[in-house]
Amino acid sequence: MRRTVVFFLTQFLLWALVSQANHELTPWGIALFLGGLFVGLSALTFDRREALVGAFAAGFLHDVGTPLPFGTHALAFAAAVVFIQHVRHRLNRHEGLVTVMVILITNLGLFLVISAVALRLLPDADRLTSRVFSDLIASQIVLALVSPWFLALQTQALRLGGCATSPETAAHG
């Protein structure tokens, strides 16, 4: 329970930072979407129940204040967690680079899913594709740059909160 709360606090911090960055970026016509970073670490290291709780919490943070049906982000994040957990035994998930790659691919998938849902609800969606593409590129670049920092912050926060960072570490000590 404590791990879930500490994890949610780090997600909330990331959400606050991303929304402030997006606020400042509006004059340039660029917006960041870092959904993959919200679910990456939990999907790779937490058990399914905890990772899904984290995914739903992060999803709800994204869902409010958007014109999409409430729960869209939450379900997309949950689906991402299930997919990552299905393949994580084949990955060297304690390797930083692997984690960043998983986060980048997850973010790409989530961005495309959310775009598909959002554009389906909009008229003349084909006019928006160029902006979707530029937002995606900007998001992936920023994600690659901030992922190592945020993963370190999450791991450190969990350690400071007295929580195991993964079920394996919990079992060992």
């Binding site: 606050a16 004059p27 299930v82 937002d135």
Partner: protein, 276 residues
């Protein structure tokens, strides 16, 4: 082997159950959850907005008294011209009221102006929205038009306890009735693609075929007053391109919106006055 295959597909079974479960959750619970998460986020937006105000305040404090005197002088000039405009507006208002009484016409809807600071701008490829620092606590109601010095900003789409969410006119989710300035024939305006590193754009449909506009001689469009949300005559933008639609009955075109829309820090919400 079947048990192994079942074990492998278990996560997807869980996902399927979650999806099915989510669709079965009553709307009331989803709504309560949405409101709870919004109110959880609201203090972050408000605090960040107040911090930005404080930053502006301290950066202004570094200005010399010379700048202050010059700004005061400019403001005094503006105030003087606004005083004259106010008197003219009052005269016109009285005239309208007199004519309405004379012709026994229904009175036009009135609005109360509620200036509000922008707490958050959320402009992405999918939607353009603002969160303002006033909500139910200032009597903001759903659907209220929002304006600024350059014309229409958008429409209030969500009202919360201390904040309200505004859909911008540049957002593809917003459509409104408009007219060419100096014309009464209605046309349809909708937010469109907002390119990166470029100004926001909109699109117009059902433009009369006798109208023309280009980048060098743009045509201004204003709200028509139809639909009852926006008062008539508010500036939306300028048509910079017009071409005949595929059916040949009307023209469609592109609208250039005010550049300042992407940097808004203060807007005015027009709250419809209740007529008892």
């Amino acid at each position: 082997m079947p048990p192994r295959r079942l074990h492998a597909s278990r996560p997807f079974l869980v996902l399927g159950l979650l999806l099915a479960g989510w669709f079965l959750v009553p709307t009331v619970i989803k709504r309560a959850l949405g409101i709870s998460f919004f109110e959880l986020q609201a203090p972050v937006h408000l605090a960040a907005s107040h911090v930005r105000d404080l930053q502006d305040f301290w950066s202004l404090r570094t200005r010399s008294s010379h700048d202050l005197i010059a700004a005061g002088r400019d403001l005094a000039r503006l105030n003087a011209s606004y005083e004259v405009t106010l008197q003219q507006t009052e005269t016109l208002r009285r005239e309208v009221a007199r004519l309405e009484a004379l012709l026994r016409m229904p009175t036009l809807p009135g609005y109360r102006s509620e200036p509000a600071r922008v707490a958050r701008r959320d402009f992405n490829a999918w939607w353009q929205r603002l969160t303002v620092r006033k909500g139910r606590n200032y009597g903001i109601v759903l659907g209220s038009p929002v304006i600024f010095g350059g014309g229409v900003v958008g429409k209030v789409t969500e009202v919360h306890a201390y904040t309200a969410v505004v859909d911008l006119i540049s957002s593809p989710t917003l459509r409104l009735a408009a007219t060419l300035e100096g014309d009464t024939r209605p046309l349809s305006f909708q937010g469109a693609n907002n390119p990166a590193f470029g100004p926001a754009r909109g699109i117009v449909d059902y433009v009369p075929t006798d109208a023309s506009a280009s980048e060098f001689s743009p045509r201004r469009i204003v709200t028509s007053g139809l639909g009852g949300v926006f008062p008539a005559g508010l500036l939306i933008g300028e048509i910079v391109r017009l071409e005949t639609s595929t059916d040949g009955l009307f023209k469609t075109g592109e609208v250039r919106l005010d550049n300042r829309l992407s940097e808004l820090t203060e807007v005015t919400v027009l709250v419809p006055e209740r007529r008892d």
